[in-house]
């Protein structure tokens, strides 16, 4: 039994906001060049009537439009977003977002639940589905995330008042939706080889998102420097090495066409890749990034990259992908897969 990504969908809000425009709204502009450090030129931002729910629906419907499956064929729907807004900034705690999505799609035979795992959300959904399909618990399922994350940037714009502030990382995010359907129809030439994750919870307090401490809106507080310490980043190649060794094959970057890292910032991605390159003392395949134009879309980022490169015909059937998750928690996740014939609009 081998699983595969059967179909993929995404949604990007129309409105673009440049980094310079975002900074111009701040009462106290940063003393450093945010665009230069992060590489982020612009990001997509929700309109007033968009939310987690609406962006998830857009992505899920786009996904289904490219799938051989109908909503009633889906056995499970997992919503994986960090945010859970339905109307404006009304955050739903219960019932789960996956139920609202399931009812809208008419996927009445599906079981549903939400997961929350920071920026590793959709990849955690992939981990769950990969295991549940192989175990025979479900035949196929959808993972969806409508990530309406830019309210944290709005709060950062309002609240940052010091040259050093834990909310600076909040200025990097962009809104998006993404969805995929996974089934058990993988073959020798298509599908997921493995998905492995670890949570080094000793660092769980380094990035926290919650309602603002001082005012309105949601906020994210990130210890950026601590999160990017060399020792911590070095856990990534060590984990890669161990996962491959346990599988009986040493990590061979030449076996992949592309690496898709989490889209944190150009600087962070370079630092991850440098650590991996130096540890294995070898060149790495090309790294795919969209962060310059879309910012950090958090839980959707790897699938927004996949979608964007498929749309531009820069990814194709048969491409071997190495997907690297890094997320608050702290989580490190690895997925090895071969792309099938995925259509995107």
């Amino acid at each position: 039994m081998k699983t595969r990504i059967e179909s993929l969908g995404a949604y990007l809000p129309v409105k673009e906001v440049s980094t310079s425009e975002l900074i111009s709204r701040m009462a106290m502009e940063p003393t450093f060049d945010l665009e230069k450090i992060t590489g982020i030129k612009k990001r997509r931002v929700r309109s007033e009537n968009e939310s987690t729910y609406t962006m998830a629906i857009e992505a899920a419907e786009d996904c289904l439009s490219h799938s051989t499956y109908k909503p009633e064929d889906i056995d499970i729907i997992i919503s994986a977003s960090i945010t859970r807004t339905k109307e404006a900034q009304m955050t739903y705690i219960e019932p789960p977002m996956s139920l609202f999505i399931k009812n809208h799609l008419g996927a009445h035979h599906a079981m549903n639940f939400d997961i929350t795992n920071a920026c590793a959300g959709m990849n955690t959904g992939a981990y769950i589905l990969n295991n549940m399909i192989k175990a025979g618990t479900v035949r196929r399922g959808m993972v969806v995330s409508g990530e309406c994350i830019t309210p944290i940037a709005d709060t950062a714009v309002r609240e940052i008042s010091e040259p050093i502030d834990d909310q600076f990382a909040s200025l990097t995010v962009g809104d998006s939706g993404a969805a995929f359907i996974m089934d058990g129809c993988g073959t020798d030439t298509e599908g997921i080889d493995f998905i492995e994750f670890m949570t080094t919870a000793g660092y769980s307090h380094m990035c926290l998102a919650m309602p603002s401490e001082t005012g309105a809106g949601i906020a994210m507080y990130t210890k950026v420097q601590a999160m990017h310490k060399k020792d911590l980043i070095h856990e990534i190649p060590l984990f890669i090495q161990d996962v491959f060794e346990k599988r009986g094959t040493p990590f061979d970057p030449a076996g992949f066409d592309y690496i898709i890292p989490h889209q944190v910032s150009i600087g962070a991605i370079k630092s991850y890749m440098k650590s991996v390159r130096e540890h294995f003392n070898t060149e790495l395949p090309d790294t795919l990034v969209v962060v310059e134009d879309l910012g950090n879309t958090s839980s959707t980022s790897h699938f927004v990259v996949m979608y964007t490169y498929l749309k531009n015909k820069q990814l194709k059937k048969g491409d071997r992908l190495f997907i690297l998750s890094t997320a608050s928690g702290l989580n490190v996740g690895l997925m090895s897969m071969t792309l099938g014939d995925l259509e995107v609009a």
């Binding site: 960090i82 404006a88 900034q89 009304m90 955050t91 739903y92 705690i93 219960e94 019932p95 789960p96 996956s98 139920l99 399931k102 009812n103 009445h108 079981m111 549903n112 639940f113 939400d114 997961i115 929350t116 920071a118 590793a120 981990y127 769950i128 295991n131 549940m132 192989k134 175990a135 618990t137 309210p151 670890m198 949570t199 080094t200 919870a201 000793g202 660092y203 769980s204 307090h205 990035c207 926290l208 998102a209 919650m210 309602p211 603002s212 401490e213 309105a216 809106g217 949601i218 856990e235 060590l238 984990f239 090495q241 161990d242 997320a327 608050s328 928690g329 702290l330 989580n331 490190v332």
Partner: protein, 297 residues
């Protein structure tokens, strides 16, 4: 499925209003009761819903993993854990059993710990908050005997357009860390009782075609949204007379912890013994019902 509960633990200190600490205390009691090396817990699934400060990143599970001191950092060839939250109200336990079962069945992970806790986000006692501040934990492991432990789990949601009960926070307002709004539809509990009864009837018919079970032998472990909920569901299903966990008087509405708690108490009191068959029934807003048969190893 072959997933069995190795041990459980509870945290019931009424003066404690901390979602992480409740789950950590329950988890710690559970690990101690199991007598295992906690480094072998490869999966930590938190199913608690209401949490300190309405925090939404990271998941609560890593905080709980940290509090329990399980595989906190990584060094070469070290043991690892993966932790995240599964959110589905009173039915989260059954979903977590399904996820844990799929992972444990792959034999890559020895133990999975399901933890839960609910507190008002203000970390204070709030009069109209319907859920009891408490925590629970269950340690799961794989059994190669498919007729031990959890069998198939059936989940259903209603299609009548009403979600029964909704909880939400307006995060555009100041002070949202301490806010929680809960809105309940008319006759929510009546509808939930009848929806659960219908689901249990269908589940029983399905199990009867696959397993050697008799209604009279079953113990029912249910959510506790209102007093006597389990008996009311069974009455509506025409299944009177079976032992039912009725812990609402003792603990109130224990929400995400209810099923672990019901099992823990039934096991501790000797109500469930080796070979006994129990039916777990999670029921809550959505309307959502998730249920499954458990055969005590």
């Amino acid at each position: 499925m072959g997933v069995i509960i190795k041990a459980t633990g509870l945290s019931t200190e009424t003066a404690l209003h901390d979602s992480v600490e409740h789950a950590v205390r329950a988890g710690s009691a559970c690990i101690n009761a199991a007598g295992i090396d906690k480094r072998d817990i490869g999966l930590v699934l938190n199913i608690g819903i209401y949490r300190n400060d309405n925090i939404f990143e990271p998941a609560n599970a890593p905080f709980i993993q940290k509090g329990l001191g399980i595989n906190l950092a990584y060094s070469e060839k070290a043991k690892t854990s993966f932790s995240f939250d599964i959110l589905n109200g009173a039915c989260g336990f059954m979903n977590a059993v399904q996820v844990a079962g799929a992972v444990l069945g792959s034999k890559k992970v020895k133990y999975a710990l399901i933890v839960s806790s609910d507190v008002h986000p203000s970390r204070k006692k709030v009069a109209d908050f319907p859920y009891r501040n408490m925590g629970a934990a269950a340690l799961l492991e794989w059994s190669d005997d498919p007729l031990k432990g959890f069998q198939e789990i059936l989940s259903r949601t209603s299609r009548n357009g009403s979600y029964g009960q909704e909880a939400f926070v307006d995060t555009s307002l100041s002070g949202a860390r301490e806010q929680m709004n809960i809105r309940q539809s008319d006759k929510y509990f009546d509808h939930l009782i009848h929806f659960a009864a219908k689901t249990i009837t269908d589940l029983y018919d399905e199990y009867r075609s696959k397993h050697d079970i008799r209604l009279a032998d079953l113990t029912f472990l249910t959510s506790q949204p209102i007093r006597n909920f389990g008996n009311l569901v069974l009455q509506a299903a025409g299944m009177n007379g079976n032992p039912v966990s009725c812990l609402h008087d003792k603990y109130g509405n224990s929400h995400s912890s209810a099923l672990t708690m019901a099992y823990h108490e039934a096991k501790a009191s000797g109500q469930i013994k080796q070979g006994d068959q129990s039916v777990f029934i999670g029921a809550g807003d959505g309307l959502t019902v998730s249920a499954g048969l458990y055969i005590e190893p």
